[in-house]
């Protein structure tokens, strides 16, 4: 993360430190210069490459999803016999309805949303409160805590799997059993070092004189947090939120282990269980219905995803 930020920071500083560029070109240039683009042959070659890239993205990127949409409304026998054909015997919209009612997608969708909301709240609560304390309040033992938090980044999640499972089965000190309880997902989700580090770094960059001014005015740490710091944190909260939601959708193994009651399971856990006993066409329809929500979310909030999601891809791998 450090290397990444420093790369951008250095580049930006370098650019700023030089002479400001003439306002003639408002777009940055890449490998191909604006002058080159005026050349017809370059334009044609470039156009060809762009078309090829677009075609590739459509076929390889969009293709499987489009196929899934097609197969969701194709009867099973057609899908099995001629998977690449386009509705040889007509469309079966009823299959979507069957998937919805028979496999109770709505219930699992609601579960997934609830889990995502809770994880999001847990992560943001821990990250903002801890980030604030470590960055603004800066207690004496702050460095130790930060170190311990960063240390968890180096521990691969698998190490935690079994002991965390045992912890959730019987939480020490309070002797609670969190199995089949969404807190078993929400609380460990809150222990996200990445979010804490991100938020703390963001707070570190906030101008300090605003805090000084507030304190001179007599604001205690709580007022400072709620009235000053939080409102200024919108950008980082947006990024952290995208992390949180994406992580929940991707989560499979942990909910599989801790949520045994099928009524409480999220989609990711439920779908593989249903496969052996569900008709193929209905199953693909169920897969489609499960993808509608995240895809719709993505299309709505594209910019946020592409900005924050890119970083999350780097962190989560």
């Amino acid at each position: 993360m450090t290397a990444l930020t420093s790369r951008f920071g250095a580049a930006r500083r370098l650019a700023v430190a030089r002479q400001p560029r003439p306002a003639r070109e408002t777009e940055e240039r890449g490998i191909i210069s604006a002058a080159d683009r005026r050349n017809r042959r370059t334009r044609w070659t470039l156009g060809f490459f762009h078309a090829a890239t677009l075609a590739f993205l459509l076929v390889a990127g969009l293709g499987p999803i489009l196929w899934m949409l097609k197969a969701a409304v194709t009867p099973t026998q057609d899908t099995l016999r001629a998977p690449m054909a386009l509705w040889p015997n007509g469309i079966d919209l009823g299959q979507l309805a069957t998937a919805w009612s028979r496999t109770h997608i709505d219930r699992y969708l609601v579960n997934t949303v609830i889990i995502a909301a809770g994880s999001w709240a847990a992560q943001l609560t821990v990250a903002t409160s801890a980030g604030y304390a470590l960055s603004v309040l800066r207690p004496r033992f702050g460095g130790v805590i930060t170190g311990l938090v960063i240390a968890t980044l180096f521990v691969p999640p698998i190490v935690l799997l079994v002991p965390l499972y045992l912890t959730v089965v019987d939480v020490p000190l309070v002797h609670l059993r969190l199995i089949d309880n969404y807190w078993a997902i929400w609380l460990p989700a809150g222990a996200s070092a990445v979010n804490v580090v991100l938020v703390k770094r963001f707070f570190d960059n906030l101008p300090r004189e605003i805090f000084d001014a507030a304190r001179v005015d007599g604001a205690g740490p709580f007022r400072l947090f709620t009235s000053i710091v939080l409102p200024m944190s919108r950008p980082i909260l947006g990024v952290a939120s995208v992390f949180a939601v994406i992580a929940t959708w991707k989560d499979y193994l942990w909910p599989l282990l801790v949520i045994r009651n099928p009524n409480l399971q999220p989609l990711s856990v439920r779908l593989p269980t249903l496969q052996p006993t569900t008709d193929l066409g209905v199953f693909i329809a169920a897969l489609t219905l499960s993808s509608v929500f995240p895809i719709a979310l993505f299309l709505l909030f594209q910019r946020l995803f592409l900005r924050g999601g890119g970083l999350s891809g780097a962190i989560k791998g």
């Binding site: 450090t2 290397a3 210069s33 499987p64 698998i158 193994l253 593989p272 499960s290 993505f298 999350s312």
Partner: protein, 343 residues
């Protein structure tokens, strides 16, 4: 007004990180318009320290959520993992201390060798196939002037599809009969049906292809952001030198991306070492353990035996994996420190 250039003056030499931890708060406080004289800075520092200790209680209260959550669900389990690795436990009887026996049993297990080999094989395939794809796409996309948003959205769409949905969908694509989806498509161009997930030779490559499809988009976006930040003067200079497109890519673009490329490389390697969901849902580690990864082996130790798992062995293998990754990352950073141009 951009405060950054002023920051340069007030702070002195550039630091490589953004905010180093445990720093003296006062040095960062000076973002005011004029450089602060030394005496004032010292006074500010003393005031800051006094303020800090009075905020001690508030800080503790604010840290309570983190301490509780990390304490119970991160730090305690890590310690517990270490303890479990030297115990034999099946959750019913009292755990017995067995020293390093678990580690010994894991190392003696032939499945471990298979798992390590498979994981390395996957890492290699992912490197050769999955690593260049986003770079190529990003470079091609960075030259698009109109509608780059469409390209980005298309590239990122597979990342948005829930992983379980992707795997289940692709498992159907990989049906090995001649009427399977991919085999039908291959049939159009006259290529024979492939066994895909049904053969030890093709199972892992099949997983790599799906994994690339599902994850490349995120990396493309990162690279795009980095490509956009390449200083245009460098390209101008290259043009003046009469460089061709390919030469520009080789000598300007890629070197400028070096830092990002190295980071994504290590992140990809760490992620591939923890491959689990795909082999589990695609093949359960088969056929004949051809897709058994280290993580899947840990899962098998812990959860596969219907009469109670070998939790000690699972913990032992987890720790060994963690140690390996830590050492690997350290070596990696050591080696590549000289390669990426540091600020």
């Amino acid at each position: 007004m951009d405060p950054e250039p002023i920051l340069l003056q007030a702070r002195g030499p550039l630091r490589s990180g953004v905010a180093a931890d445990g720093d003296d708060g006062a040095a960062r406080m000076s973002t005011i318009a004029e450089p602060v004289p030394v005496a004032d800075q010292a006074r500010a520092r003393r005031r800051a320290r006094v303020r800090v200790s009075r905020d001690g209680l508030g800080a503790f209260l604010f840290l309570l959520p983190l301490l509780a959550v990390f304490g119970l669900f991160a730090w305690f389990p890590i310690i517990r993992a270490v303890v479990m690795s030297v115990q034999e436990t099946n959750l019913v009887s009292v755990p017995t201390f067995v020293g390093l026996a678990n580690f010994g049993r894991v190392l003696a297990d032939p499945q471990l060798g298979i798992a390590v080999r498979n994981t390395a094989w996957f890492a290699f395939l992912a490197l050769v196939f999955g690593y260049p794809v986003p770079i190529v796409l990003a470079v091609l996309m960075s030259e698009v002037r109109k509608g780059r948003g469409l390209y980005s959205a298309l590239a990122y769409l597979p990342v948005v599809v829930p992983p379980v949905v992707s795997v289940l969908l692709w498992r159907f694509f990989y049906d090995a009969s001649p009427h399977g989806v991919f085999n039908s498509a291959l049939g159009w161009v006259g290529l024979g049906p492939l066994p895909w997930l049904q053969s030890g030779d093709t199972a892992m490559p099949s997983i790599v292809i799906e994994s690339t499809w599902a994850n490349a988009g995120a990396t493309v976006i990162i690279y795009l952001a980095a490509l956009v930040a390449v200083p245009p003067e460098l390209y101008d200079a290259a043009d003046v030198d009469g460089a061709s497109v390919w030469q520009k890519i080789r000598h300007v673009t890629l070197p400028q991306l070096r830092g990002v490329l190295l980071v994504t490389l290590i992140l990809q390697l760490i992620a591939t070492a923890q491959l689990f969901t795909e082999p589990l849902l695609f093949t359960s580690g088969g056929p004949n353990n051809a897709t058994l990864t280290v993580l899947l082996l840990i899962y098998r130790y812990a959860f596969q035996n219907s009469l109670g798992g070998e939790y000690g062995m699972a913990a032992a293998l987890s720790l060994m994996l963690a140690a390996f990754l830590a050492i690997f990352t350290a070596i990696y950073y050591r080696l590549t420190r000289g390669w990426s141009t540091s600020s």
